[in-house]
């Protein structure tokens, strides 16, 4: 069969009044989104303040840590803690099996390279839109 033998008519239909109603529906949505954007702009300085506060806190914490433990590695610091105290801490803490598994070096278990995230989701395929979509999927939208 040749394409020329086929009528170019498409098998698609649309609801009644679709094109008559579309411009009004669209303008309603645009007006709603503009109102939302205005709300976001007002709350931006609050976010900025929170970000500055968090940065200062992180700097102070890092500074104190540097003063107290300068020149010593985490291994050395941990070596000074008695084993009984460490066991007691781990028993008291709420570390789940999943948390423990995460701390295991997978390279020690298998010689084969484990499948990395980039194997199933190449970085060049991750765009802002995809991240936004995933966030919406998991209802993690920013509550500003």
């Amino acid at each position: 069969m040749k394409l020329d033998d086929i009528n170019k008519e498409k098998p698609f239909q649309i609801p009644d009044q679709y094109f008559e109603e579309f411009p009004d529906r669209l303008m309603d949505r645009i007006r709603n989104e503009s109102d939302k954007d205005r709300g976001r702009l007002i709350s931006l300085p609050v976010m900025l303040k929170m970000a500055v506060a968090a940065s200062i806190l992180a700097l102070i914490t890092f500074g104190i840590f540097q003063i107290n433990f300068e020149g010593r590695s985490p291994d050395q610091i941990l070596a000074d803690v008695p084993t009984e105290s460490l066991i007691a801490y781990l028993e008291e803490s709420e570390m789940s099996v999943d948390d423990l598994i995460e701390t295991i070096d997978m390279g020690l278990i298998t010689q084969e390279d484990p499948l990395t995230e980039s194997d199933i989701l190449p970085e060049d395929e991750i765009d802002e839109e995809m991240i936004e979509e995933i966030m919406i999927d998991y209802e993690l939208e920013f509550q500003l």
Binding site: M1, K2, L3, I6, N7, K8, E9, K10, P11, F12, Q13, I14, P15, Y18, F19, F22, P23, R25, L26, M27, R29, I30, E33, E125, E129, M130, E133
Partner: protein, 179 residues
């Protein structure tokens, strides 16, 4: 109203909404059918059409008229369509379903689809093509667009488009000859 006049009025804040509505009314049908042929389902086409015009609303002040308004709008619509199909493909990758089969399913099951057998077979044959080739075929075959116009929208060469269309026609006729 000519595009130039619409654009001038859109740039006047007091006339922006009114003249934007004129722009929507002028282009909505052509853009809708451009999208619909790619995504098959009416509701999907409706969502994408809204996104296209919202993007135009937000960016119309940045439009510098390097290309015609028609080309610019088509470009946005084409981009939104391909993004939508890519997202669907990624989703179906996670859910282990087949994006091509999903479009086929929509062709069989979605409301607002009712065609003669031969037209449905043509649509099914089109779904066998890669998205970009299907896009080129639709613009050339159904919309009777010139290669030069399609080249501006898709940022490809006229030669490449001719080759793509020729191959698409061959594949489709081959599919239609089966049975």
């Amino acid at each position: 109203m000519e595009d130039k006049e619409i654009l001038e009025k859109i740039r006047d804040p007091s006339l922006k909404e009114q003249s934007f509505t004129i722009l929507v009314k002028k282009y909505q049908q052509r853009i809708y059918w451009h999208i619909r042929k790619m995504v098959i389902d009416h509701d999907d086409a409706d969502d994408i059409l809204q996104e296209v015009f919202i993007k135009i609303w937000k960016n119309i002040d940045k439009f510098r008229e390097d290309s015609s308004l028609f080309t610019w709008i088509y470009k946005i619509a084409t981009h939104e369509c391909l993004n939508f199909l890519n997202r669907q493909r990624r989703r179906s990758m996670f859910s282990l379903s087949d994006a091509g089969l999903e479009l086929n399913h929509k062709l069989d099951q979605s409301p607002y689809i009712d065609g003669k057998e031969v037209q449905m077979r043509l649509q099914k044959a089109l779904l066998k093509l890669p998205d970009k080739q299907r896009l080129v075929f639709n613009m050339k075959y159904f919309d009777d667009m010139k290669y030069e116009e399609i080249a501006k929208i898709t940022d490809t060469s006229v030669g490449g488009l001719k080759a793509s269309y020729h191959l698409a026609v061959k594949k489709i006729e081959q599919y239609l000859s089966l049975d």
